[in-house]
């Protein structure tokens, strides 16, 4: 929509104020949480002074550190596996269209469509009934599944925006398929792969519902641990660890957007 700002007819009254309210609603809880995480008071919502002590408490808690390690192991493994499968699939789906392509695209994004609770129940029943012991492995497998579409979509978009003539030029210059891929396609695709991998990583790091169902006793991830803490009560420790998770996610997503927008 191109708007002639000098024309007063275009000034829809109130939408600017509504937008401000919208962003206030969207960010107020996040800001409040982060501010309160620096509150020295033991009572989490009564401000009595600035302090970073709760971050120290959180980082010194062995259980939290173990959960964080689990989260990192799961997210890293699932991201690598999902990005690998997604990159290959995006390459396979590119270029010409073929019969069944719609079906395959639908299957790849299926994890986005099915409600998380349903996926969680199905995966839990599957692992238990085929006799798989619940643990870190089951969590990694479940995460790989729902990470695939998040990695796939940016890679696919990047491939779609690529100039087909480049591949043809490589072929004209006697590059083999592999050389053309290695020297032309891959370098151009790299930002898409990186951005997809980072999105998959945060989605895995943040997942709660599916992990909550399929994690065995020793496979508590950070969100599952935080959920347990919230159940017990509102404490400054929860504020601190929650803020850390928020900040990590925001950093990652910002990075992913910057990489994804690198010149095409």
């Amino acid at each position: 929509m191109r708007v002639d700002v000098s024309n007063p007819l275009w000034r829809f009254r109130g939408i600017r104020a509504a937008t401000w309210l919208f962003f206030a609603y969207l960010y107020l809880p996040i800001v409040v949480l982060i501010v309160l995480s620096f509150n020295e008071n033991r009572l989490a919502t009564i401000w009595s002074g600035f302090s970073t002590q709760w971050y120290g408490v959180v980082l010194g808690n062995d259980d939290i550190m173990r959960a964080a390690t689990n989260s990192l192991v799961v997210a890293t493994t699932a991201t690598l596996a999902a990005t690998f499968a997604a990159t290959l699939a995006a390459l396979g789906m590119a270029k010409t269209r073929f019969i069944g392509a719609d079906g395959i695209s639908g299957l790849i994004v299926l994890p986005l469509v099915v409600p998380e609770v349903v996926t969680a129940v199905a995966t839990l029943l599957f692992f238990i009934l085929i006799g798989f012991r619940l643990g870190l492995t089951t969590v990694i497998v479940a995460h790989t599944v729902f990470c695939i579409p998040f990695a796939y979509l940016p890679i696919r978009a990047r491939l779609e925006g690529m100039d087909k003539a480049l591949g043809e030029a490589a072929a004209d210059l006697y590059a083999s398929d592999w050389q053309a891929f290695r020297r032309v396609t891959l370098p151009l695709l790299w930002p898409g792969i990186l951005s997809g991998a980072m999105l998959a990583f945060i989605i895995s790091l943040d997942d709660f519902v599916i992990t909550y169902f399929v994690a065995g006793a020793g496979a508590t991830t950070l969100p599952v641990y935080i959920f347990g803490m919230i159940r017990i009560g509102i404490t400054p420790e929860v504020n601190a660890i929650s803020s850390l998770m928020l900040i990590v996610s925001i950093l990652f997503v910002t990075l992913s957007f910057l990489v994804g927008r690198m010149r095409r």
């Binding site: 007819l9 349903v118 009934l129």
Partner: protein, 294 residues
């Protein structure tokens, strides 16, 4: 089979294998489990096939094995529907003006605003809902603000009510409403609106007769994208709602925790999946050629 086809199949195979084996097969198994009898101490009895789990949606077995109507579960379904619809309506009311404002900004500003809308989506849902506890609970920040403004000095009493759940749900899925509406408004040919102005329409008429009708595909996409995850929500009602605002997701989870009735849990999950797929299908059939969501 040509070499190119063979390579294509090999490339797509890993993703298909992972999703097929660990997503499609489990969903099939879940549908099958919903037709089995529950074991005495949890688990299932493999060789007894029954529709008992689905009968349980509406009926309860009495001691003498007769069926009596039990509306507890229907109430939870109805509440989930009601709250999800309310969430979609609230998100639309809050989201539409924002989408319109965003679409009317210069290019660079738009991209920044889109980025700001998407950030919360990528942050932890659990943590964001937890933040609402800090705001809404008795003695929390909203109560403090109301007292400071002199509007109320009563305890807020909002936590663990359906109101808290609908605030949390709207908050959780708001970006899904704004982005598709923005996408359809952004593509809108502004000359159509100029034409409406030239023909004597005021802003209100231009909005209701030109902009809104052209934004319908985006609005429909937004409503589906908000309604569907809200219907399957687990975290928000678990944290912000109490026993009186339980939703389908919590009921399902309960079958695998305390209640230990797997077939019933599987049947509930299968019903939820069917509703979601149905909603998606109706949307696709009606708006197939419409501008897609981002």
């Amino acid at each position: 089979m040509t070499a190119a086809t063979r390579r294509r199949i090999l490339q797509i195979a890993p993703a298909m294998a992972i999703i097929g084996f660990f997503m499609v097969a489990p969903l099939g198994l879940m549908a099958y489990v919903s037709l089995l009898q529950k074991g005495v101490n949890g688990g299932v009895v493999w060789d007894v096939h029954t529709t008992e789990a689905y009968v349980n949606f509406i009926f309860e077995r009495d001691f003498d094995d007769s069926l009596i109507v039990n509306t507890d579960y229907l109430q939870i379904f109805a509440r989930s529907f009601g709250l999800s619809l309310l969430t979609a309506v609230l998100a639309l009311a809050i989201g539409f003006p924002t989408a319109l404002y965003m679409a009317m900004q210069p290019e660079g500003r738009r991209n920044l605003l889109i980025f700001l809308v998407t950030i919360p989506f990528w942050t932890n849902l659990l943590v964001r809902n937890y933040a609402w506890i800090l705001l809404l609970r008795n003695g929390g920040l909203v109560e403090g603000l109301l007292r400071w403004l002199g509007l109320s000095d009563q305890p807020l009493g909002l936590m663990y009510t359906p109101y808290a759940v609908s605030i949390g749900l709207t908050y959780s899925y708001l970006p899904f409403m704004v982005l598709p509406i923005y996408a359809s408004l952004e593509k809108l040919d502004s000359r159509l609106i100029e034409a409406a102005f030239d023909l004597g329409a005021d802003r209100r008429r231009a909005l209701t007769r030109v902009i809104l009708p052209l934004a319908v595909p985006g609005i429909a996409a937004g409503c589906i994208l908000v309604f569907v995850p809200a219907l399957g929500a687990y975290v928000t009602p678990e944290l912000l709602g109490g026993g009186k605002s339980m939703m389908i997701g919590n009921l399902i989870q309960g079958q695998f925790a305390a209640a230990r009735n797997w077939p019933f849990g599987a049947a509930l999950a299968f019903a939820l999946l069917a509703i979601v797929l149905l909603a998606m299908m109706i949307y696709l059939m009606r708006f197939r050629r419409a501008p897609a969501a981002p």
